[in-house]
Symmetry: C2
Subunit: 244 residues, 2 copies
């Protein structure tokens, strides 16, 4: 006799209600939000519930509060999710089959200096690389490479040229028990090699944006590196961050 769908907690409902009112202009930017007591009366909840909701809104940047005066509307936080066009991140989560492209290289080679440094391996160590050419509407779009230490690639399906039916995170967590925590990224630009220009169908005088994303676990240990090569005339990177 239990209700199967659980209702969200009251403070979360209040958050949503107030967000909608700010977005709809009921509470305009710069204006004073109703005081805690007014919200308590209007919604029939206790003060801790109201305060919890307002704390969430403040931490998300919707409002700012000033002791003794009240809480002021800032507007929809343009920053909420720090939207970023993060090439290669989709690759960590989505199965290869869901993106159009082909595996162009599967090999164990001596790691380039930058890769070895990011993986915290001795210079000239062997590393496993799986390289895919991603296409967009039939046209070559970018080169995405995954670099792993040799021991992490063993026992995985990455050594096969067949597309992975799982996301990279899911696969490595199931097979090797590792958990991704964060990515440390380096962004550079350079001219393409002849082979890269041919594979990507780009002019030899067009620069290449190179993004190296070192995926680490919570302890900081590097697990793998995702290298994304983007012809600069067809891609750009977007980011957004708050400022103090």
């Amino acid at each position: 006799m239990m209700s199967l769908e659980s209702v969200p907690p009251k403070y979360a409902q209040l958050v949503q209600t107030l967000q909608r009112r700010i977005e709809s202009g009921t509470y305009g930017p710069g204006s004073l939000l109703p005081s805690e007591n007014q919200l308590i009366q209007e919604f029939g909840v206790s003060r801790p519930t109201v305060v919890a909701a307002l704390r969430v809104l403040r931490e998300q940047g919707w409002i700012e509060s000033q002791q003794g005066k009240g809480r002021f509307v800032r507007g929809r936080p343009a920053m909420s999710a720090v939207e970023r066009n993060r090439p290669g991140q989709a690759y960590l989560i989505r199965p290869e089959a869901e993106t159009s492209g082909e595996v162009v290289e599967v090999a164990t080679v001596a790691a380039p200096n930058r890769i070895a440094a990011l993986l915290e391996l001795p210079s000239k160590s062997k590393a496993f690389v799986r390289r895919r050419l991603i296409t967009d509407e039939g046209e070559p779009s970018m080169l995405v490479s995954v670099w792993l230490p040799a021991e992490l690639s063993q026992g995985t399906d990455l050594t096969s040229a067949a597309p992975l039916p799982q996301g990279l995170h899911e696969h490595l967590q199931a097979r090797k028990g590792v958990r991704f925590d964060h990515v440390a990224e380096q962004i550079t630009a350079r001219m393409p090699t002849a082979g890269e220009a041919r594979q990507l169908g780009m002019g030899k005088s067009t620069p290449l944006l190179a993004v190296f994303g070192a995926v680490r676990e919570a302890s900081g240990r590097a697990l793998l590196v995702v290298e994304v090569l983007l012809p600069a005339d067809r891609h750009e990177l977007d980011d957004a961050y708050p400022i103090g």
Copy 2:
């Protein structure tokens, strides 16, 4: 007779204490944190205080909690400040006098397409640009340009070639009453023009990393654009972000 230095609230003290214990290894990564009741007893505070401290730690990524089991130590959040080498951001805050470089251009010109789009101006509008060549140990290092709509540049000291004694944010807030809120960034790469290569002392076949940072106020209205041009053989961009 009031104490001049105000003591931080109890929950904030608890946060600091627990952070120190995690960093020192007293609470190792993966281990179970003492339960709420144990912390209540040890520190002699009430449950909401303990919960408030643990909520902060969870939101900052130090611990994760699992209902019915307990709270687990994750370790120092490598992400806390999302450390990023943000060229141009220092320019918003620090006075020009504190960085070595010279003003190479101060003019009102037709805004390039990308600048006009970021400033939300009609195409081919006039915009004010202040361009500086930053030097590092005597060598030219990067070109930093600030683009403003004409009306925002009026009444400021930006039209003078003399170095600003204030940070850009401070100056514009004092003179025009605007408040910076966030930055929307675009990162591209291209070949340098002949003039840029000469000013930056770089090879004509070296690509240029171009970072366009649109500074906006909380409402989303664009205030100005900071354009940073970096020779790709001498600079790279670093970023870090959590993954879920």
